[in-house]
């Protein structure tokens, strides 16, 4: 297994393909592999056509990497696009169809003004209902937060604690978009975006790419002396429209995918030593903690405020800075989560290295919960 990613940020001089190629080349180099060995490419991308006007992205990227002739397929699952690409690559390798598969994820978002980015992101919602009514993605998660607060007593302080923790981690990540620690006061007093969420509850609009090379376990030694094994993985789906869900304070797709992944890996939530979860908004991290079984239902907020998820807590979450501080180039996020966990598992995470890193979990969420991929990684 190899990994490679670009820094995340706003790169006005870079185009989508050059970002994906940089991540892909770094990944192949990391795995001591050459393009001719790659048997298939799965590219996660949410909205290349809308953001940069380019379609047919998978061969557009793979040929630029010098990978010729093999199946090259784009996977779209909103913010879970490259998590889903990773899942499909895994099924290809596990079934024996391929040995060596490259997964890449890329998004180039900052070439559009923020109102247009908001509009493109909203297209991952139900455009015939909630979006037509003026919903934005922030507003969908704001409505989730409101209901979570109403049912469980979650507070603004709980949300802010997630932002403060992820910014503290991101400040130590040289590849993060916003390398800046923030205080509780700042996080509580950000510019309102959609009540009760403010600017500091929202992930960043970023450019970036990430890539992962998959190989069967018995061939891993050809590519790395620090192999990381996929112990469990599952993808699940749910309604796209928030108003179709019976209970918006939980994501059934996260519960389904994580239950399957735990079963496949033969581990329990308590066994997981670190996680990268999908904090597109602070409330999403709080609910992820509950749906993944790290915290009891309704208690994700107090669990966060108590410091369990900090780097020095018993369940470090988003040591990379998460989508909040590392950045959220939508289509790259799922693959980047895997890269960040692998860095920790290889003891290559620098200042943000955590001591326990043998069993890790990535949770990648699409839209307001309609797609979820959960991956459990272990060191062999």
């Amino acid at each position: 297994m190899g990994i490679g990613k670009t820094p995340f940020g706003a790169f006005p001089d870079r185009d989508l393909r050059s970002l994906a190629v940089e991540a892909g080349e770094k990944c192949l180099r990391n795995a001591h592999a050459n393009p001719a060995q790659v048997e298939a490419v799965f590219l996660g991308n949410f909205a290349g056509p809308a953001f940069v006007g380019q379609n047919h992205l998978a061969p557009y990227v793979s040929t630029a990497l010098g990978i010729q002739g093999v199946p090259a397929t784009r996977i779209e699952g909103a913010c879970a696009s490259s998590g889903s690409a990773f899942f499909h690559a895994f099924t290809g390798v596990a079934s024996g169809v391929y040995d060596i598969v490259l997964v890449a994820g890329v998004e180039k978002m900052t070439s559009q003004p923020t109102p247009r980015v908001t509009e493109i992101l909203a297209s991952a919602g139900d455009c015939s209902g909630e979006i037509k009514a003026g919903s934005t993605f922030a507003s969908l998660f704001a409505m989730i937060a409101r209901r979570h607060m109403y049912q469980f007593g979650t507070t603004r302080e709980h949300l802010a604690a997630v932002a403060v923790k992820n910014h503290a981690n991101g400040a130590l990540n040289p590849d993060a978009h916003m390398r800046k620690a923030i205080t509780m006061e700042q996080a509580m007093a950000g510019k309102p975006i959609a009540e009760p969420l403010n600017l500091y509850d929202c992930s960043l609009i970023s450019d970036g790419a990430a890539a992962v090379l998959l190989a069967p376990a018995e061939r891993a030694h050809e590519f790395t002396d620090k192999p990381v094994r996929v112990l469990g993985i599952a993808q699940a789906s749910d309604f796209v429209a928030l108003d179709q869900k019976p209970d918006i304070t939980t994501f059934p797709a996260v519960r389904l995918a994580s239950e399957k992944a735990y079963r496949m890996a033969g581990v329990r939530p308590a066994d997981i030593q670190l996680a990268e979860v999908h904090d597109c908004f602070t409330i999403a991290e709080i609910i992820a903690l509950e749906d993944l079984g790290f915290a009891p239902r309704g208690e994700g907020g107090p669990f966060s405020l108590a410091g369990h998820t900090a780097r020095n807590g018993d369940k470090p979450v988003n040591t990379s800075g998460g989508l909040k501080s590392k950045g959220h180039p939508v289509g790259a996020t799922g693959a980047a989560q895997i890269c960040d966990l692998v860095l920790q598992m290889r003891c290559e995470a620098g200042e943000r290295q955590v001591p326990r890193h043998a069993l890790a979990l990535a949770q990648n969420l699409g839209g307001s919960g309609a797609t979820c991929v959960v991956t459990i990684l272990g060191t062999i």
């Binding site: 209902g129 003026g134 934005t136 507003s139 704001a142 209901r147 109403y150 918006i248």
Partner: protein, 71 residues
């Protein structure tokens, strides 16, 4: 669907919106549990509403229901 009434399941006030809605900012949206069953996402006119408030649909524009708080 005109004349529907229901209860606010959740709501938000939006300050950052795409160009198509920029003129309305800040505006409130809500998911309303309809008395007739099911839920819809709509806009709130007039007074702000909170969870559990009772609302009535006052108009439908381009398929989008607009609700007003029942005093």
């Amino acid at each position: 669907m005109n004349g529907e009434s229901g209860t606010v399941y959740t709501e938000t006030v939006i300050y950052s919106a795409p160009d198509a809605f920029a003129a309305d900012v800040p505006y409130q949206t809500a998911i309303v549990s309809l008395d007739s069953g099911g839920r819809v996402t709509g806009r709130i006119l007039g007074d702000r509403v909170a969870i559990e408030d009772r609302v009535a649909e006052v108009e439908v524009r381009d398929g989008v229901p607009f609700f007003r708080k029942i005093a």
